[in-house]
């Protein structure tokens, strides 16, 4: 029995059967399991199609007159809102303040890249392979390679690994810019009251193109050796995308925030500072210099992603290759391999000196990170989005806030 077609192939078999290979069509016709999968897709189709209104009468010529009138009334509107190359650029293409702060997703996505994914993608273009649905803690050892820039020892990293924040004047402005709104939360007593500051987390993406030769050179320079790369790994591309996101801060002005967030989430600043040379990677560090006051009393964030797309490499082979590299501790590799569903489970790095636990938030499992005087955080994922409540407040206070959001 040939391999079962992917969900995507079955889906297209329903929608555009002529575009599907005959061998897949034959298989889907004879295989009971694939017929069951197809049946489920048909049910999904029916539910959605019936539920959404499908017929509407319009008069385009009248609408065109209406548009012309609107342009005469507000002639500046069209030019002010004109699109860029893509719709999202038009909606999100706003002037930014280049303030790289809040690095947690840098570390998270780095580990995510190390993790690879579960699905072997056959297409030659970048295919989405990961969107976070749940989180699981992984303990980072001193010496583990973390940070996207540190991955430059495995190949060429392009794009940015930083998240930029743009100040917004109000919750409404933030919602408009981000495309979604953060729910209003009641701040626990004892924490700063009043309105928070509002920040748009800009969308960013970075690509890693694997270079086996570069990884070998880096290992040799460190006095180590690396196993031979499986076929298809050399030159393969992984793309990590995050954002847009929304951030609300209580009790902190932003310029002093960078060190604190890095501390809380495991020394990513040292990772990023390893530079593009990347010969030594970036060990997770406990040697931080930021003061506790650099942390906000309370921060609430929702960020789209991180999502990962691949150029079609066999990701199980890539995972095995990356996790066998010097600089990845056997403990970290074992934790990542133990993740049940790596296509949707996001590893949350637990830095040295911090502890982690789980908490149920209205049916969703969240990771609680406690770093003593360095702050606490509650992190969870849902529908491709990462949520975090963090700051100097106690873990129980942060959990109370998180339950208002989840």
């Amino acid at each position: 029995m040939p391999k079962h077609p992917s969900d995507g192939t079955l889906r297209r078999l329903l929608d555009e059967p002529v575009a599907v290979a005959v061998v897949d069509e034959d298989h889907a016709t004879r295989c009971m399991r694939c017929q069951a999968r197809t049946s489920l897709m048909r049910q999904d189709d029916a539910a959605l199609t019936l539920a959404l209104d499908s017929h509407v009468e319009v008069a385009p010529a009248v609408a065109l007159e209406r548009l012309r009138t609107a342009e005469r009334v507000a002639p500046a509107l069209a030019s002010a809102r004109a699109p860029g190359r893509r719709g999202r650029e038009a909606v999100l293409g706003r002037p930014r303040l280049r303030r790289p702060i809040l690095r947690p997703t840098t570390v998270i996505t780095s580990v995510l890249v190390l993790m690879g994914g579960a699905t072997a993608a056959a297409a030659t273009n970048l295919v989405p392979i990961f969107e976070p649905e749940s989180v699981v803690p992984v303990v980072i050892q001193a010496g583990d390679i973390v940070g996207l820039q540190a991955l430059s020892r495995f190949g060429t990293v392009t794009g940015t690994s930083k998240l930029d924040l743009t100040p917004e004047s109000s919750a409404g402005a933030l919602a408009s810019a981000a495309g979604f709104s953060l729910p209003t939360v009641t701040v626990p007593s004892g924490l700063p009251t009043g309105s928070p500051s509002y920040w748009l987390v800009s969308p960013e993406s970075a690509q890693l193109q694997i270079s086996v030769a570069k990884a070998q050179q880096a290992a040799i320079k460190d006095g180590n050796s690396v196993p031979p790369a499986p076929p298809g790994v050399d030159g393969s591309v992984l793309q990590v995308a995050t954002g847009p996101g929304a951030l609300e801060l209580w009790g902190l002005q932003l310029p002093g925030f960078t060190g604190g967030s890095d501390r809380l989430f495991g020394g990513s600043s040292s990772s990023a500072s390893s530079g593009s040379g990347g010969s030594t990677g970036a060990p997770a560090s406990t040697g931080n210099t930021a003061q506790v006051s650099d942390l906000p009393q309370l921060a609430v964030a929702e960020v789209k992603g991180p999502s990962v797309s691949s150029s079609g490499v066999d990701l199980s082979a890539l995972e095995s290759y990356l996790l066998s590299q010097p600089g990845i501790s056997s403990q970290l590799a074992a934790q990542i391999r133990a993740i049940g569903d790596p296509s949707s489970t996001l590893p949350i790095p637990v830095p040295p000196g911090a502890t982690s636990s789980s908490v149920n938030l209205n049916g969703r499992t969240a990771v609680v990170l406690a770093a003593g005087g360095d702050g606490n955080a509650v992190v969870w994922a849902e529908n491709g989005r990462l949520f975090a409540v963090l700051g100097q407040a106690s873990a129980s206070e942060l959990i109370d806030v998180a339950r208002q959001i989840a």
Partner: protein
């Protein structure tokens, strides 16, 4: 002589520019008349309100007009994605409000409507669940149910047509989860 040349050339240049503007406007009008109905339909799928859908469509075309090139290969895809994006943003306007509506509407939700009549409450449940999906997943589902081909959707979201099936399947799985969660949350 030179003065004569200048006085002759200046009106010609202005005339050429004026004709170019007229050509651009005619091109935009054809583009508008060709795509308006589908842009409205996509927004209407999400909103279920014709007036609101036409407002979204107007915003989409206003955004496009003057900067976008109607003859470009990405133009139509941009309209469709922008329409779905704009409509979903309206639905997402207040998550807490939607959640309340979802809880209320879920009380009467029953999948598989044998009689073919979908109650407004059931539609509200589906829309609320759709609005809770990741933006791109929701957009793709809306565009697919609006009759766009894989090539159209690929153009709109900037992927290869071969990836669209995977994206649709994943989006449907997410929606199924949301609908299930809406039922079990009661």
């Amino acid at each position: 002589m030179m003065a004569m040349v200048r006085t002759v050339r200046a009106p010609r240049a202005a005339l050429v520019a004026q004709r170019a503007r007229q050509d651009d406007e005619r091109s935009f009008e054809r583009f508008f008349l060709t795509h308006y109905e589908r842009v409205v339909l996509i927004a209407y799928r999400v909103l279920g309100d014709r007036a609101a859908a036409e407002d979204v469509a107007q915003e989409v075309f206003l955004s496009f007009h003057g900067r976008g090139d109607p003859s470009s290969d990405w133009a139509a895809g941009w309209l469709w994605a922008a329409s779905a994006h704009g409509a979903l943003n309206i639905v997402r306007g207040s998550r807490r409000r939607r959640d309340r509506e979802l809880r209320v509407a879920s009380a009467t939700y029953a999948p598989g409507p044998e009689d073919g009549a979908i109650a407004a409450e059931q539609r509200a449940v589906v829309r609320a669940c759709l609005a809770r999906l990741p933006q791109r997943q929701a957009e793709i589902l809306v565009m697919r149910t609006s009759g766009l081909s894989y090539a159209d959707i690929a153009s709109a979201v900037g992927v290869q047509p071969s990836s669209v099936g995977t994206l649709i399947a994943r989006a449907q799985k997410s929606l199924r989860k949301e609908l299930s969660r809406a039922q079990t949350s009661l």
